[in-house]
Amino acid sequence: MSMLSIKGITKRFGGVTAVDDVSFEVFEGTIHAVIGPNGAGKSTAFNVMTGFDKPDAGTVTFEGETITGLKPHRIVKRGVVRTFQNTMLFDEMTALENVLVGMHVRTRVGFLGAALVLPGVRAEERLAREEAHRMLRVVGLDEEAGATAGDMPHGQRRLLEIARALGAGPKLMLLDEPAAGLNNAETAQLAETLRRIRDTGVTIVVVEHDMGLVMDVSDEIVVLNEGRKIAEGPPLLIQKDPAVIEAYLGEEALDA
């Protein structure tokens, strides 16, 4: 059975249909890419899947339960976390603190407990910090634990956001253009990191522009164009799909 199932998702903004009756399945333990030209509806689909937008029609099912329309924090609690196209880090906090915030759903201390330092608070804090350091190691940022997020270079910020998402102990990670703005070396490092994360048992859905990265890491690809799904399949098939080539060639020609 699939881990995540998208059925007939439609989302309109005013007169524009950003996502039009899109369905696909994500299986556990895979890296699944969602690609498509600019304005294809990829980010909107992500927003719908993570509760940041409500769909006009369709359902999102995670592990057999409907999560459509749930608040974002509830969806995180179920084990689905996301990153953003424009990283949404806490710039005034350190890298370590960012990951600690990411662990919010895995920790319990509330206002009263923290204020009175009730029994267990210290232990939880210590464990959380150890775990946060481990997450930073996964993405190769352990050296930067004390750096202020706002001062970090772009490539590190992308990785930090992934570490923060890992903090929630997710079953499924949705990454929105994680390679945007990265150079070749950083992209290669990112691919390595994604595979390492998948190998720990986390399923990954990635919206991405960088075709090299997508073809390199994905097990399965969904192609959107103008809000509709136009193709679906493993990388080798997608590369040869005439509909995909047409959609992309159009864009490449414009870009060139």
């Binding site: 903004f13 927003n47 940041f52 937008d53």
Partner: protein
């Protein structure tokens, strides 16, 4: 209640409402250009009255000169405030700019106390004389002036926005500042002029109302809340909606007077909270969705 009493309340409502409308216009114009709510807007109103009184009594200028001088001086203060305190942080988070204008409000009120003292200062009516009887009610001559000022202001703004290059630039900034800048519009100049214009309108309201209420250094904050309530009623978008919001607020205030005159002062606040909580986009605008 007799119709003449009712009419009298309506007249008073439209008179006060016109003042709120001028303040609401000031809020709206600055907000359109900068996305900043200028908490010092009420101080421009206070300073307008103050400078007019000062020019009239100390310098002995005739009112016909004292009034424009006061408005121009305050417009200059508005421009200066923008240059010195807003522009250096224009890209900061909105919170920082709010706080700066709050600081400006404290400073303006306090400086006014040093300059003009802490007494209430009167100004004669523009055209002294008995009230004009109208269908059993009476209209103060000054109220006619206030309405005239609002009409001329609306006409002037309509002309500015519709027929001039500057107005088109201001409208473009209102739609999308970044796009306007890319189109080659000098947005910094638009922001500066918007502050000057808003200050001038605030001052005009202050000058026009001082003959009826006199003025004091600490009246700015109170009137700013009412002007903001009017602006919020209008939805902080179109100037005409701001004027409508002002007039409506003035009428609502009068509507509670038959029940309790003490309530009049709290009505604007209640309206403000009700609109903020229930219809933050204002009465006249369709709901707008912020994109993720």
């Amino acid at each position: 209640m007799e119709t003449s009493e009712l009419l009298q309340l309506v007249i008073a409502g439209l008179k006060n409402g016109s003042i709120y409308a001028l303040l609401a216009l000031g809020f709206t114009i600055v907000y359109a250009a900068t996305n900043v709510i200028n908490f010092a807007q009420g101080e421009f109103y206070m300073l307008g009255g103050m400078f007019a009184v000062f020019a009239f009594t100390r310098f002995g200028l005739p009112l016909v000169l004292a009034v424009p001088v006061a408005v121009l001086v305050v417009a200059g203060i508005g421009v200066l405030f923008e240059r010195l305190a807003i522009r250096p942080r224009k890209d900061a988070e909105p919170m920082a700019l709010i706080i700066i204008t709050v600081g400006g409000s404290l400073v303006f009120a306090s400086l006014a106390r040093h300059a003009f003292g802490s007494d209430a200062l009167p100004l004669p009516e523009f055209t002294p004389g008995p009230s004009i009887p109208f269908a059993g009610a009476a209209i103060e001559r000054q109220a006619l002036w206030i309405w005239g000022i609002v009409l001329v202001t609306v006409a002037g703004l309509t002309f500015l926005y519709g027929k001039t290059r500057l107005g088109r630039a201001m409208r473009a900034c209102m739609q999308n500042r970044e796009a306007a800048r890319l189109m080659g519009i000098d947005t910094a100049r638009v922001v500066m002029i918007s502050f000057g214009l808003a200050a001038a309108l605030g001052a005009l309201a202050g000058v026009a109302v001082t003959p009826l209420t006199s003025t004091r250094f600490d009246i700015g904050a109170g009137i700013a809340v009412k002007g903001f309530a009017a602006a919020i009623l209008g939805g902080l978008g179109s100037p005409l909606a701001a004027v409508a919001g002002g007039l409506l607020l003035g009428l609502i205030e009068q509507a509670v007077i038959p029940f309790s005159s003490a309530l009049k002062d709290v009505v604007a606040l209640a309206v403000l909270l009700a609109v903020l909580f229930l219809r933050p986009q204002g009465l006249f605008r369709r709901s707008r969705r912020e994109k993720v």
